[in-house]
Symmetry: C2
Subunit: 217 residues, 2 copies
């Protein structure tokens, strides 16, 4: 993850750190897994063991939530899951387009988990006419030239950018001119955009370097 | 990025934070872009403007590097790039397999940038016999049953796991039994593995939540 813009979430009038947000999303992931296995309660120790962290850390994080579902035997999974969703605010879906219908774009289009977190991908765009007209996970692929019109019609201000590095900057320029305000950049390129447009760099290499360090040391 | 295991890099006997590492990898990305555009020098202000951060931050980060290429007119790009590579230690390539030859697996197999950062993907694996035998970016797709043997032959201890959520845990169990020690987990599932196996969760949703927060507030 690129942390070029450190942000803080306001929770119950406290600011919590990026690290806590990341842990809460992992707890959410575990809760979803447990729910689908038919479990109804979970303990902080169970969560901590899966993530190899201390259970006091888990309890501390959860204490930041409203209505955390604490019971005598641990936490009620459905309640705790709802508490995380409510607190992190992913109950208000945001509409988005994927620009670049290559493998990564298609993988993201098939990633149904996004909708659980309030990200609603409506369509894909590409400049390859052979890809136009295809339907991926109920989302149509349009020619990139249609984007300005469809963004306005559908009220979309956010794009997941999955074009190759060589096309990234010129595509970003086009998106900016099409009134896109938020770009989640998956291409390995740092983009130059004007004030008023927000970029979030998905920095896979940065993540790998962290992991790589653990292997070497 | 999942920060369930906060790690620190040791640089010139100083420990530097995850945030600094992330910024250094973004600088590296910018330097690669500038080099391919034929530039030979860059200033801290140019880097800072692209990332919308303060240029004093850029200079502070670069001051942690050995032989940073500082000159009268800024930094010599080739030297600064090499300094980041040397300092972060991605000059020792690590061999890896991709397990799951779906769209995400294929996208990662095509991502040549990995090799620049010392990650050398040798082959892909899948349980779908229709995919076996294909070649993606010079990497062959093998049946998953071949993994234990090939991991031993090729000395591979690291896997990029890109199977669907429903298959993630049982595939992780199989990898553990095949002596894989490092799993970079791209599936939206938190995996249960024994001591001695390291997991790095690629937490796309955590990243989205950060970005999402900026849109809402």
């Amino acid at each position: 993850m690129a942390i070029c813009h450190p942000v803080f979430f306001k929770i119950m009038d406290k600011k919590i750190s990026d690290n806590t947000i990341n842990r809460l999303t992992l707890y959410h992931c575990i809760l979803s897994d447990f729910l689908s296995s038919g479990e109804s309660t979970i303990t902080s120790v169970q969560i901590a063991n899966l993530l190899k962290i201390d259970d006091s850390q888990v309890r501390k994080d959860i204490s930041l939530l409203k209505n955390s579902g604490k019971s005598r035997v641990g936490y009620i999974i459905a309640d705790l899951k709802k508490a995380i969703e409510g607190t992190l605010g992913f109950s208000h879906p945001k509409n988005a387009f994927i620009v670049g219908a290559g493998n990564l774009g298609l993988a993201l289009a098939k990633y149904d988990n996004f909708l659980n977190y309030g990200l609603n991908v409506l369509a894909l765009f590409d400049n390859d006419t052979l890809k136009v007209g295809a339907t991926i996970n109920k989302k149509e692929v349009y020619h990139i030239s249609k984007l300005p019109e469809l963004a306005q019609e559908m009220g979309v201000q956010m794009v997941l950018l999955t074009v190759p590095r060589s096309a990234a900057q010129k595509t970003a320029d086009f998106l900016v001119n099409s009134n896109i305000k938020y770009i989640w950049n998956f291409s390995p390129s740092v983009l130059n955009v004007p004030e008023g447009v927000e970029i979030w760099n998905e920095n896979l290499m940065g993540n790998f370097l962290h992991f790589s360090y653990k292997i070497s040391n």
